[in-house]
């Protein structure tokens, strides 16, 4: 088990080193940091001095190693655009994205699980067929289109909910939350709905597939034979056996949701990390881009590793080299 743990951790570290290399390459190849940072009157000598101070005259490998060491300490340098520490910028934006992803995940579970159970239990009924068709429609709707349609209906036409921003927030330490104000909660509704739609369909399809398997097992047949109410057989006994894969999927999809939040955040002008990233892309603000890339990849890799390790804990067969972690390589989402 220890060998497996070490191997898995080494694997994750390797992936992160590769991502860091990618980020570093982008960092090196685009824009001259010195030109970005000095003002226009700076003399040649001042520029050379700054170049030396930033270590830009060192060899490629030395610079890469320094980049990795700095990144490990959470130091991604200074934003070219507004001259602020990148980690501070991202830290300010992180709570907004986190709350959005959290609420979207909860919506996907609360809506997706019951829908999945219903489609499995009432298999081949018109309701189930309709929901199945609906789930394909859900997968086919791009999240930005969903966002725009929601704004068109609920903000522009009906005027019920705000279409952009985060509303009023309350600061708890460095964390700013929108959960405790009326406008904060109202602002969350449309973005989290549009972010969760795809996830709802994923959860629903997974629960349906798992339920169909479980409903065929003997213990379900026995429970029915014993005369337990069908409601309890389905919603308590059968569902409970389907939840493990759902938890896995939810865990692994969080990375994807954070990445996809950047689309939702752009539509709703939601002041999260994703919007910061898209603005950075527009202004070629490389340090911010590099930091975002590494942070999101880190969360992604961390969650995947945790899921793999948990599986190995539960299922000893996965510890052998013979079965390369089946859990990795989940759907990349659309």
């Amino acid at each position: 088990m220890l060998a497996f743990l070490i191997k898995r951790a080494a694997n994750a570290a390797l992936v992160m080193l590769a991502v860091a290399f990618l980020a570093f390459l982008i960092f090196r190849s685009f824009g001259d940091p010195v030109e970005m940072m000095v003002n226009e009157q700076a003399t040649q000598a001042e520029r050379a001095e700054l170049r030396e101070r930033l270590g830009l005259n060192d060899g490629f490998l030395v610079q890469y190693l320094r980049f990795v060491t700095n990144a490990l300490q959470g130091d991604f340098g200074i934003s070219y655009r507004n001259q602020q520490d990148v980690m501070v910028l991202i830290g300010e934006r992180f709570p907004a994205t986190f709350e959005l992803v959290l609420v979207a995940t909860m919506i996907s579970l609360v809506v997706g699980i019951p829908l999945g159970v219903i489609t499995a239990v009432h298999r081949d009924s018109p309701i189930a067929d309709g929901l199945q068709l609906g789930s394909i429609v859900g997968v086919s709707l791009p999240s930005f289109v969903v966002g725009i349609l929601l704004i068109l209906v609920f903000s522009v036409t009906l005027g019920w909910l705000p279409a952009f921003g985060r509303g009023d927030t309350v600061d708890i330490g460095w964390w700013s939350t929108g959960f405790f104000t009326e406008s904060g909660r109202a602002a969350l509704v449309l973005p989290s709905l549009s972010l969760s739609l795809f996830q709802i369909t994923l959860v629903m399809r997974l629960v349906r597939a798992e339920m169909l398997e479980t409903l065929r097992t003997d213990f379900i047949k026995f429970s029915r034979a014993r005369g337990l109410p069908l409601r309890i057989v389905h919603w308590r006994h059968a569902l409970r056996n389907c939840l493990m894969p759902v938890i896995t999927l939810t865990g692994m999809q969080i990375g994807n949701l954070i990445a996809f939040a950047l689309v939702t955040e752009t539509v709703f002008q939601w002041p999260g990390m994703g919007m910061l990233f898209i603005q950075a892309v527009t202004f070629v603000d490389i340090p911010v881009m590099a930091a975002y890339l590494m942070l999101v990849s880190f969360i992604f890799v961390l969650l995947n590793t945790i899921v793999d390790v948990t599986y190995a804990l539960v299922d000893p067969r996965l510890r052998d080299d013979a079965a390369p972690a089946a859990a990795s390589g989940a759907s990349s989402g659309g």
Binding site: I26, F30, S140, L141, F144, A259, F260, L262, T266, G329
Partner: protein
């Protein structure tokens, strides 16, 4: 090989299954219609949306024809520059379809080649290729595509950015998606290469590439076909998302995503038709492709037959 594939598919009860699934038939018919309409756009569109001289500011911001102030021939209205929305959609659909198709073709050819190579050759080639694949899969799809697109645009001189926007998008979408094909083909190649017929072929000195292409590859075509169909939908979606975010097709050669990006700016001015119709068109395309892919997956699944 293509002809034999077609005849095999026709015998495969696939046609029979197709006729029994109305959703697949409707999706196929709709897709065919959209294909024809978009590729015949220069013939049937009321206006050439790329021709700035054809735009008339007097006809700008016209609503769809069934509303008051709507005017012929602007069936779905015009945008703020007087560009006919229907014409823009037809031309934009063509761009979206071409980019989606090209990126699937690219990722398919790269994925099949590398997957066969990794599975058949094994050893360090396999190791390197699969590690690269692992790394690509450990970053979110959309993030890789945005980064490639953004970086490639930055690397090009400003004059070339818009000209090369489409090829850049094709590559940006293909890079994160070849891994899936490669893994599928690799797994099958590893199983098949130990079987007797491959050993026999080797014994009579059939060239490795011939063995891979003629003997091993056909074993994986079914799952690959399903994956490619579903990925076609995903590719169109990704292209639209990138263009919407501003790292895709430029406004003077808009794809559906660019049209939605442009229309989004007028969401609050009451000009809803500029954004709604391209959005509906995009959803229709992706939905039809997904319905077809879903049906194909069930129809080709031996367990469900």
């Amino acid at each position: 090989m293509a002809a034999s594939l077609v005849s095999r598919l026709a015998e495969h009860e696939l046609w029979w299954s197709f006729k029994r699934h109305p959703s697949a038939m409707i999706a196929a018919a709709l897709l065919l219609l959209l294909f024809i309409a978009s590729f015949a756009a220069p013939l049937i569109a009321p206006q050439n949306p790329y021709d700035l001289a054809a735009l008339d500011l007097d006809n700008s911001e016209l609503p769809p024809i069934w509303q008051s102030y709507g005017a012929w021939p602007y069936l779905l209205g015009t945008d703020v520059q007087g560009r006919d929305v229907l014409s823009a959609i037809l031309y934009g659909t063509r761009i979206s379809l071409i980019i989606g198709f090209a990126s699937v073709l690219l990722s398919l050819s790269v994925g099949l080649t590398l997957g066969l190579l990794a599975g058949y050759a094994g050893g360090w080639i396999d190791n390197v290729l699969m590690r690269v694949g692992d790394i690509l899969l450990s970053m979110p799809f959309i993030l890789i595509a945005i980064l490639i697109s953004a970086v490639a645009r930055e690397a090009l001189p400003p004059g070339l950015r818009d000209t090369l926007a489409a090829p850049i998008l094709v590559i940006a979408i293909a890079v994160p998606s070849w891994v899936q094909y490669a893994r599928t083909v690799r797994a099958s190649a590893m199983v098949e290469k130990g079987k007797e017929y491959v050993q026999a072929a080797r014994l009579i000195k059939v060239r490795p590439w011939r063995i891979m292409i003629n003997h091993i590859l056909p074993n994986t075509l079914t799952p690959i076909l399903v994956a490619a169909t579903l990925n076609f939908g995903l590719a169109i979606l990704s292209e639209a998302t990138l263009s919407f975010l501003g790292v895709g097709m430029p406004p003077d050669e808009p794809s559906l995503g660019t049209l939605i990006r442009i229309g989004n700016q007028f969401l609050f001015s009451g000009l809803w038709w500029i954004v709604l119709f391209p959005a509906v068109q995009l959803c229709l395309i992706v939905l039809s492709v997904n319905l077809l892919g879903d049906w194909l997956r069930d129809a080709l699944n031996p367990k469900l037959r």
